[in-house]
Symmetry: D2
Subunit: 111 residues, 4 copies
Amino acid sequence: MTDDLNVAKLQRRLAEFAAARNWQQYHTPKNLVAALSVEASELVEIFQWLTPEESARVMDDADSAHRVTDEVADVLAYLLQLCEVLGIDPLAALDAKIDRNERRFPAPGER
Amino acid sequence: MTDDLNVAKLQRRLAEFAAARNWQQYHTPKNLVAALSVEASELVEIFQWLTPEESARVMDDADSAHRVTDEVADVLAYLLQLCEVLGIDPLAALDAKIDRNERRFPAPGER
Amino acid sequence: MTDDLNVAKLQRRLAEFAAARNWQQYHTPKNLVAALSVEASELVEIFQWLTPEESARVMDDADSAHRVTDEVADVLAYLLQLCEVLGIDPLAALDAKIDRNERRFPAPGER
Amino acid sequence: MTDDLNVAKLQRRLAEFAAARNWQQYHTPKNLVAALSVEASELVEIFQWLTPEESARVMDDADSAHRVTDEVADVLAYLLQLCEVLGIDPLAALDAKIDRNERRFPAPGER
């Protein structure tokens, strides 16, 4: 990851992209979470008939590597737009969640 | 977003968390995309009966604000773990996707 | 399946159940498909960390058999309510779809 | 619904369709629930940017009516195949679930 590519900059690009097309009117939180779940399912679709072993080799094929990367981007796009609309800092949310999970699920050596 | 909280650092925390609990065995790409889609649906569940207007006010209530933030964290957690396992850089993937979308969907003034 | 338990009768029970609680106002097609997808994901959640082999034995445990049966019922409930609201006959829709699929994907011996 | 079109008959058609193409090997419960959730999301995709009012008129347009009916069929197809593989009677499961819900959520006049 280069220094000049970060979450805030991507959120700015996404917001400008939507604004230039007058798409913000569609971006209610309810619609964005639906779109996010649809994109997540498009990821599932790639893997649905694969064995666990085949799923581990999905990046070996250029075509499916491209599809997976593309769907990852779509999931992240809607997640970041949702966070922008709701005023959530996604990295801080995850950092706090890992803290909570460390207390909820102590590692074997820490119990 | 502070400088010391970034995607790579969160991926490291997530990897250490899973390793300490011996959970990596479950983290096939196929399982991670399923978990990602389940978490995305838990976000949808919060919004499923809300009107568009109610959905826009979801952060006004402390309880639902917390639930939404928590589910956002879960979605991001599985997305980052999937990217780690598959060797995908999520921010670069999204940056490239926005480039492609700008060509696919020219803004009105650019047509 | 007994003669006196059919799709139309279940749709009538579901409609009366919703009407008695004044829930029809929430049952827009958009909301019902969201609820359907949430219930489908609750099924996925049961299976998400299982191996294919473990997933084939899910009904051996009384508890998970009950959970799976319960989620199947929820998926069917929203599917039937969606069909009622939209005027779709689900069994006829599936029958027609199998016809189309038989033409799209000829079986080896029929090619 | 005609008398000669019922759930058991459709399950038989689906089983024969899969067997003729040697697809049963892919039909683990885990894969079938993933496919079910993917089809449910394809339904969501049709509705994701619609207002509640637009969603109520989705059958007025022949094209989207066809898409919706087609996705309903796909959801039902995977639900019935899952039930077949797991030995679940979907109509009985729903009937029992409505019974439970009537006890869990008494209607206003019955409280």
